[in-house]
Amino acid sequence: MSLSSVDGRVLWLLRLMGAASCALVVLILFFLISDSIPALRELGPRLVHDESWHPRELAANGTYGMLPIVIGSLTVTLGAIALAAPLGLGSAIFCQFYAPRPVATVYRRLVELLAGIPSVVYGFWGLAILAPLIAEVLRPPGHSMFAGILVVAVMILPTIALISESALAAVPRATVMGAAALGMGRWSILRSIVLPSARGGILTATILGVARAVGETMAVVMVCGNIVKVPGSVFDSVRTLTANIALEMGYSLGTHRSALFVSGLLLLLTAIGLTLLVAWVERRDPLNGGGGTRG
């Protein structure tokens, strides 16, 4: 089809809009970098080496050790994914292979609803119910890494469940039925045929779960206690990169504000890295990864 002159002009307008959408990523990166530069220049390795996080407006007056906060983010994310990945996958398998059809429909709807609950509501539930429960049954003060891991795990479970389910659904039915005809048991079919061929999609689901867990803010601020210290146990209070920004951005100034932008930049780079990882998984495993990201 050839383009008329009107089409040509419209196409340029649309291209401009597409470029603007693209440019947004560049714009975000630019603003985060430009506001990070003062801290990076003045502090540099001190962001890693300083023994504690006591930021001040002037670089010389404060200490800016971000390592405990990075460790806080990592531990909460790893803990949450360790809990949510098996549960999410189990949930997807349940929907596809174990539940009777009506049960599966209702169950899937429920998981979708779970995915739609705002993070501030999860956080509130964690604050009002979970943290006091942990303080009473396990160990005070309740506001702890453990509470954070539980809440974040509940939050990312639907993401993992829904995306891995679409990966499981993409496994060709004929293969599965063929195996069943050979008299293989349900779990044998899953283990030797379905799960290996859905591997890419399940991996994508897990990576996207990690992305959500790293970026989660409100729920974590509300239940983690927010002390900047490398946690000695799961019942200790921790602060994550996201919580750090949410807590201190409101009153931060000068180098302190800039240091918060460094943590934002770190989060952005993590997001870019995880996106590239997903793209790589999809390219390596085009059959199964593809259905995943369009969630």
């Binding site: 597409g18 956080g123 951005m249 997903v278």
Partner: protein, 288 residues
């Protein structure tokens, strides 16, 4: 696809796995019921018409949430007004005016993937640096709405693009045979066809905006009064819940009520999305 009738074989391992899978499903249901019943039971106590039409008093412990609802909807309106033209344009570009796999569409699609993975607090930082400080909008409904527009853009574009891609090629060919330009085809043939799909995309975006808290903390601010202009600070419902839960002693009952209002709003919107999607599928497959 579900309920695939696979043989239920015996054997210890098989039975063990079956038990664990069912346990996981029950666990997920249990957690869901726990959270939802907690919010509903505690929230219903404070819910009344007056809660929806009064201004908050004593930091939200008393009174209602009217100014907060107005702020929330204003932020939503700003976000949609900014995001829809850009999102629609980009979606049309990707679906109708470029070939799949070309360099430009691939670059756009990858950028959108990145944008979709950026944590909302990072959007908050960006919004604060760009809209509030650099453009001088301050803590305002405008700054908050524009920040959220950036955040929903990838979701919007993807679902709008999918809506256009779902239209069978016969429409485009028939329009071309009639000598219509591509612009005409898009505006008068494809856009109406894609409309229900567009509604679904829109509704997904609306849900995301309403649920958002972190990106608004330093862009639209905390002021819980009735906003009088786009440049006033306005507190969204999600931030109101956060504030009541964290900063107001005795704020829990009303935090529950506000959470219930927010969840009901989201449920209604999700219902609308499901309804729209259903209509869209029926129309696309030609059954009615």
């Amino acid at each position: 696809m579900s309920g695939l009738s696979l043989p239920t074989s015996s054997g210890t391992e098989e039975r063990l796995v079956t038990t664990s899978i069912w346990t996981i499903a029950l666990l997920v249901c249990g957690v869901f019921l726990w959270i939802v019943s907690d919010v509903v039971l505690n929230g219903l106590a404070g819910l009344s018409i007056s809660y929806l039409v009064e201004a908050p008093a004593q930091g939200g412990r008393a009174g209602g949430i009217l100014p907060i609802l107005v702020s929330t909807l204003s932020i939503l309106a700003v976000a949609l007004i900014a995001a829809i033209p850009l999102g629609l344009g980009t979606a049309i570009l990707l679906a109708e005016f470029t070939r799949r796999g070309g360099t430009f569409p691939t670059v756009v699609a990858r950028s959108l993937d990145v944008l979709a993975a950026v944590p909302s607090i990072v959007f908050g930082l960006f919004g604060n640096a760009f809209f509030c400080v650099w453009l001088g909008l301050g803590y305002s409904i405008l700054a908050g709405g524009l920040t959220l527009a950036c955040m929903v853009l990838p979701i919007l574009i993807r679902s709008l693009e999918a809506a256009f891609r779902a239209i069978p090629d016969e429409y485009r060919l028939a329009a071309a045979a009639l000598g219509m330009s591509r612009t005409r085809t898009t505006l008068s043939v494809l856009l109406p066809q894609a409309a229900p799909g567009l509604v679904v995309g829109l509704v997904l975006g609306v849900g995301r905006v309403l649920a958002e808290t972190a990106a608004l903390l330093f862009t639209s601010g905390y002021v819980d009064r009735m906003p009088e202009s786009w440049l006033d600070s306005g507190r969204s419902l999600s931030i109101h819940i956060f504030d009541l839960a964290m900063n107001v002693p005795g704020g829990e009952p009303n935090a529950y009520t506000s959470a219930l209002v927010l969840i009901v709003m989201l449920l209604l919107i999700n219902g609308a999305a499901a309804w729209g999607a259903d209509r869209w599928v029926r129309r696309a497959t030609g059954t009615s």
